[in-house]
C-alpha cells in the first residue's frame, strides 16, 4: 500500500469518527439545537433573488455604466517620450474621441431603455400575480393553523420491527420523509440502516442527519438513483392528493432498481374523527386508503406489496420492493 493510499484511508477513518462523534453529541443534546439551524435559516432569509428583485435593475445599471466611454486615453508608457507623445496625440484628437464616445454612450442608453420597459412590465406582472394568489388562497392561514393542530399518530413497536426487517441489508441511503417521529429514524439508524430524515418541522429537525426542508423541494434537488429505499409518511396524512402523488413519483424517480419502499398512512376514518367537521371541511389533504397506495405501487410494477395494520388500528404500513 502506498503512503498516499494509507493516508487517504486513515483520513477517511478520522472523518467517520468525527461524523459519529458529532451525531452522538447531537443525539445526547450536548450541542444546542437552535444553534445548528439559526444561521442556515438566516442565510435563506437574506438570500436575494436577482431575477425577481433587483437583478434586472442591477444588470441594466451595469450595462449603462459599461456603455459610458471615457474619451481620455491613458498616457502610461514605458518611456517618458512615449507618455509625452500620447499626451500630445490625446490633446490633438480629444474633440474627435469625445464625439465618438458621446455617440456610443447615447447608443448604450437607447439599448437599455427597452430593457427598463421589460423590467417594469415584469414587476407589474409579479405584483398582479401576488394579488391573484392572495384572492384565490383566502383560507391559507386557517389551513396552516389547522395542520399545526393535527397531532401525529405515533408508530407502535410492532411497526418498528417490520420496518427494520424490510430495510435490513439495504446497501445505500434510505430517506425518511417527511419525518414526524425522530425516534423511529433513530431506531432504524441504531440498527445499522443508513437512513436520513427530511422534515419541514422545526422540532424534529434537530438531529444531525435530519434536514429541515420540504420533502418535495428536497427530492427536486436529489440525483436520480440516489436512494436505496424510502419511508414516506407525514405528508401522506395532511397534504393534497396532488402533493402526495408528486412525492411518490419523485421518490420512484430518485430510487435505484430494487429499492425498498415503505409508506405509513393514518387510517382515513380515524383521522376524520379526530379532525372534527371544521378541519375536515377546510383541510385540502386527507390520507388515502391503504388500497389506493397498493394500487399506485402495483401500477409501478412494485413487487412483494404487503399491508400491515397497527395493533390499535390507527394506521397502516405498506411495504414493497421497487422494480
Amino acid at each position: 500500500m502506498s503512503d498516499s493510499q494509507s493516508d487517504a484511508e486513515y483520513f477517511q477513518e478520522v472523518v467517520a469518527e468525527i461524523e459519529l462523534e458529532a451525531r452522538q453529541r447531537a443525539a445526547t443534546g450536548e450541542y444546542p439545537r437552535a444553534l445548528l439551524r439559526s444561521l442556515d435559516e438566516e442565510f435563506r432569509r437574506w438570500i436575494p433573488d436577482a431575477s425577481l428583485e433587483s437583478g434586472i435593475e442591477d444588470t441594466i445599471r451595469s450595462i449603462e455604466a459599461a456603455s459610458y466611454v471615457d474619451a481620455a486615453v491613458p498616457l502610461k508608457s514605458r518611456s517618458p517620450v512615449g507618455s509625452f507623445t500620447k499626451w500630445v496625440v490625446r490633446r490633438l484628437t480629444y474633440f474627435y474621441h469625445r464625439h465618438i464616445a458621446q455617440q456610443i454612450t447615447a447608443l448604450g442608453i437607447h439599448i437599455t431603455r427597452p430593457l427598463r420597459l421589460i423590467d417594469a412590465s415584469l414587476k407589474n406582472i409579479n405584483r398582479r400575480l401576488s394579488l391573484v394568489e392572495d384572492q384565490l388562497d383566502v383560507g391559507a392561514a386557517a389551513r396552516s393553523e389547522l395542520i399545526a393542530s393535527v397531532s401525529h399518530i405515533a408508530a407502535s413497536e410492532g411497526i418498528k420491527e417490520i420496518l427494520l426487517e424490510h430495510f435490513r441489508g439495504v446497501p445505500g441511503r434510505v430517506l425518511f420523509g417527511d419525518l414526524f417521529e425522530p425516534s423511529l429514524l433513530d431506531f432504524l439508524r441504531n440498527q445499522g440502516v443508513d437512513i436520513y430524515g427530511v422534515t419541514p418541522n422545526d422540532e424534529a429537525s434537530a438531529a444531525v442527519d435530519i434536514q429541515q426542508t420540504e420533502l418535495i423541494e428536497h427530492l427536486d434537488h436529489l440525483d436520480s438513483n440516489a436512494l436505496d429505499g424510502f419511508v414516506l409518511c407525514g405528508i401522506t396524512d395532511r397534504s393534497s392528493l396532488n402533493e402526495q402523488l408528486r412525492a411518490l413519483r419523485l421518490l420512484l424517480l430518485r430510487s435505484r432498481a430494487g429499492a425498498r419502499a415503505a409508506i405509513i398512512v393514518a387510517k382515513p376514518e380515524l383521522l376524520s374523527s379526530r379532525l372534527g367537521p371544521v378541519a375536515a371541511d377546510l383541510l385540502q389533504g386527507r390520507p388515502l386508503h391503504s388500497e389506493t397506495w397498493c394500487y399506485l405501487l402495483s401500477r409501478e410494477n412494485a413487487s412483494d406489496i404487503t399491508v400491515v395494520e397497527s395493533s390499535d388500528s390507527a394506521f397502516s404500513l405498506i411495504t414493497a420492493t421497487l422494480p
Binding site: S4, D7, V14, Y31, E42, P48, A50, G55, D58
Partner: protein
C-alpha cells in the same frame, strides 16, 4: 516562426487564470514559438505586456482560448482559421450565481452555451482537472486531456509586518480561506462553522478571508449574516493581497478550510498544502480530486460537522502532523516544474502533429 497566441476574456495579475495565461506564454516562448496574449479587458499593469483582442493576427498557426466565462472573445477564437485549442478552467453553474448577480449569471450562461456550441470546432482541449474534462467529454469534445493549472509555488518570503500583526492578534484557532468572495465559494458556511466552533467547543477562533470581492449582493448578505451571528469581531476580510502577504497568511493560520460548492481546480488548497497547513475541505466538484489524499474530505458541511473537524485537527497533534506531511506530498503532484514539463511535452507534440 510558428505563432501560438492565446486569447483570454480578461487578463489580470493575482488571478488564477491570468497567472496561468502568463506562465503558459513563457512556456510557449521557451519552446521557440512566437506567442502573445490578446484580451478584451486588460489590467493596467499588463497594458504594455498584452494586446487588445482586435490585434489578433488572422494568420496565427495556433490559437489557445482560456475558457472560464462567456465572452465575445470566444467567438473570435471560434472564427479563427488556425488550430483551435481550448484551455478549460470550468464555468460556475448559473444556478450558483443567478440569485446574486444578474450580469454575471448572463455571462456564465453565455459561457456554458459557447462551451456546448464549440465542441465540434475545437481541435483539442486541455482541462485543469478530470472533473472539468468530464464536462467537455460529455459535450462531445473530440480530443481532451488533463493538465493542472500553472501557478507559482509561492516561493516568495513572507511579509514580516503582516505575519507579526497576525501573530500578535491570535488567540484561538486561526481558520483561513483564500478565494474570491463569491456565493459558490460558500463563505457563509465557513462563518456558520466557525461560529459553531466558538460556541460548542469554547474556542476563541478567528476566520480569515483573503480574496477580492465578487457580487456586491453576496458580500452584503455575508455582512448581514456575520453581524447577526455576532461574528463581526471574529471574521476579517483581508481583500486582495501580495504574494508575500499571502505567504504570511498561510504561515499564521492553523487550518485551511474550503467549503466551496463549485471549483474547477482550487489553487489555494495546493498553496496551503505547500505551506504545511492542514486542509479540511468539502468533497465536491474538482475539490475532492485536488485534495485527494492530502487532507480531510468531508462528505457534508453542516456547521456542527465542520466545527468538529476543525476542533479535532487543532487538538490532535498526530493528526495535524500527518495532514501536513500528506499535504506536502500531495502538493508535489502539482509542482510547477512537473506541470510546465507536461505543457512543454503536450503542446510541442500537438503542434508538431498538426502543422
Amino acid at each position: 516562426m510558428t505563432t501560438v497566441h492565446q486569447l483570454v476574456p480578461t487578463i489580470s495579475p493575482r488571478d488564477a487564470v491570468g497567472n496561468h495565461t502568463l506562465a503558459l506564454r513563457k512556456i510557449l516562448r521557451e519552446l521557440g514559438f512566437e506567442s502573445e496574449i490578446f484580451s478584451m479587458f486588460r489590467h493596467t499593469d499588463l497594458m504594455n505586456d498584452t494586446h487588445y483582442v482586435d490585434r489578433l493576427p488572422g494568420d496565427a498557426d495556433v490559437v489557445i482560448y482560456q475558457f472560464s466565462i462567456g465572452s465575445p472573445v470566444a467567438d473570435r477564437w471560434a472564427q479563427h482559421p488556425g488550430l483551435k485549442v481550448a484551455n478549460y478552467h470550468n464555468i460556475t453553474p448559473t444556478s450558483l450565481v443567478g440569485r446574486w448577480d444578474g450580469l454575471l449569471a448572463a455571462e456564465v450562461q453565455l459561457g456554458r452555451d459557447q462551451m456546448a456550441r464549440y465542441a465540434n470546432l475545437c481541435d483539442h482541449a486541455i482541462c485543469d482537472s478530470d472533473f472539468n474534462r468530464s464536462e467537455l467529454d460529455a459535450l462531445g469534445y473530440k480530443s481532451t486531456e488533463t493538465i493542472p493549472v500553472l501557478f507559482d509555488s509561492l516561493d516568495a518570503r513572507s511579509d514580516r509586518s503582516t505575519l507579526a500583526k497576525l501573530e500578535r492578534n491570535r488567540q484561538g484557532t486561526q481558520v483561513l480561506f483564500v478565494g474570491r468572495i463569491a456565493p459558490n465559494k460558500a463563505h457563509h458556511d465557513l462563518v456558520a462553522a466557525v461560529r459553531t466552533l466558538r460556541e460548542v467547543h469554547n474556542d476563541n477562533a478567528h476566520l480569515h478571508f483573503v480574496g477580492t470581492d465578487g457580487p456586491p449582493s453576496y458580500r452584503s448578505t455575508l455582512n448581514g449574516i456575520i453581524n447577526h451571528a455576532g461574528m463581526r469581531d471574529h471574521v476579517t476580510f483581508h481583500g486582495s493581497v501580495s504574494q508575500e502577504q499571502l505567504v504570511s497568511h498561510y504561515m499564521a493560520a492553523d487550518v485551511f478550510c474550503c467549503l466551496s460548492d463549485h471549483e474547477g481546480f482550487c489553487v489555494p488548497v495546493v498553496e496551503a498544502m505547500n505551506h504545511d497547513l492542514p486542509v479540511i475541505a468539502f468533497s465536491c466538484t474538482a475539490v475532492a480530486e485536488t485534495v485527494a489524499s492530502g487532507g480531510l474530505l468531508l462528505t457534508e458541511k453542516s456547521p456542527l460537522l465542520v466545527a468538529s473537524a476543525i476542533h479535532r485537527v487543532r487538538n490532535d497533534d498526530a493528526l495535524a502532523q500527518r495532514l501536513r506531511q500528506a499535504g506536502r506530498q500531495r502538493a508535489k503532484n502539482f509542482d510547477s516544474e512537473i506541470t510546465r514539463e507536461k505543457f512543454h511535452r503536450q503542446i510541442s507534440n500537438l503542434i508538431l502533429e498538426s502543422l
